[in-house]
Amino acid sequence: MALSRDQIAMRVAREFQDGNYVNLGIGIPTLAANYVPEGIEVMLQSENGLLGMGRYPSEAEVDADMINAGKETVTAITGASIFNSAESFAMIRGGHVDFTVLGAFEVDVNGNIASWMIPGKLVKGMGGAMDLVAGAKNIIVTMTHADKHGNSKLLPACTLPLTGVNCITQIITDLAVLEVADGAFHLKERAPGVSVEEIKEKTAGKLVVEGDIPEMKL
């Protein structure tokens, strides 16, 4: 069966290693913070200028001067640092953030990603997404494998305006874990109960399936 949003987040969190600095985009990526495995610590970077983002505040802790990149009220962990936006993106652009997890409209076999603009719809902006995909050492894209009409989001070539080129190496969808390399998607894991056939069917870009594909562990 296709994974729930929380299950995708759980699978994402299994990628984290102890000591990783991680930037989580809005939506499913943010949920991953709830599922960091036992014995592993990650430090969350929020691109508005906070390293060591904590949980949401209690009513008494709410402070208009303490927000995250999603403009939500937030807290800082003990040992956090707070800095300006240029410094924050120096960290990101300079490759000091270990992982970025973000959503996408489309990803293609060359690791291109489209995530910010749908022609004809009002464009709100790319925020920090272009900097994040250009800068992080490892990027994980989380999304549903296909849109609600059943159209694949894993394409031979993105059709929407890009957020970044040649930058995506790993995709975790509701159906599968895939790596992007050598102009193809490489199937690595499938969601429990989801067949390789179904994944093939919903992957428009070139898909490489080698050997037995194990089910994900969550």
Partner: protein, 235 residues
């Protein structure tokens, strides 16, 4: 010996010299760390044709959003906009122009503007609509685009505390774009919660040295919260 006393006592003095068609760089991220009183003064002055450089454009009725009400903004340079209906309407009408700029590139453009760096290369935006028409150069086999710096006629800044010399500190994440914006204005105006005497801020802990600051005014702040989210047990 008043040459370093940057304190002014009225908003008219604070924004004196602002004229139609000028470029104003504004600190703030969403509604966090925005110079509320300076924005209100721009609305009151009624200047038109402004280019505003700021990560966002406030919301309907608050922050930079209030400058849309009388159509004072000609162009926004931002990374993320459209949290307000009026913005959307003016954009679709063609009354408002938007130059979308990646958030990190925007921060770096302001810093570069203040630091005498006219342009820099970044990988951000290469191969995307942001990179169109920009110079491309490879370094170590990777393509980068050339981005030019930004300076403004005015920079409007929100700090927590400033001393009379204009040395500023920011509180929590209300720092955001303010320090870079402060360096990039021909005239930089800082609105603060508290004015302190020189020496009260430790020299190594000053975020914005007074050399960048022309005027300091004490404001009062509503500090509206855009998205109040509570811990689960408090919801």
């Amino acid at each position: 010996m008043s040459g370093f006393d940057k304190v002014v006592t009225s908003y008219e003095q604070a924004m004196q010299g602002l004229e139609d068609d000028m470029t104003v760089i504004a600190g703030g991220f969403g509604l966090c760390g925005i110079p509320e009183g300076l924005i209100a003064q721009i609305k009151k002055q009624g200047v038109k044709g402004l280019t505003i450089v700021s990560n966002n454009c406030g919301v309907d009725g608050f922050g930079l959003g209030i400058l849309l009400e009388d159509k004072q903004i000609k162009k926004m340079v931002s990374s993320y906009v459209g949290e307000n209906a009026l913005f959307e309407k003016q954009l679709l009408n063609g009354e408002l122009e938007v130059e979308l700029t990646p958030q990190g590139t925007l921060a770096e453009k302001m810093r570069a503007g203040g630091a005498g760096i006219p342009a820099f290369y970044t990988a951000t935006g290469y191969g995307t609509p942001v990179g169109e028409g920009k110079e491309v150069k490879e370094f170590n086999g990777r393509p980068y685009i050339l981005e030019e710096s930004i300076t403004g006629d005015f920079a409007i800044i929100k700090a927590w505390k400033a001393d009379r010399y204009g040395n500023c500190v920011y509180r929590h994440t209300a720092q955001n774009f303010n320090p870079m914006a402060a360096t990039a204005g021909k005239i930089t105006v800082v609105e603060v919660e508290e004015i302190v005497e020189p020496g009260e801020l430790a020299p190594t802990q000053i975020h914005t040295p007074g050399i960048y600051v022309d005027r300091v005014i004490k404001g009062t702040f509503e500090k509206r919260i855009e998205r109040k989210v509570l811990a689960k047990e408090d919801r």
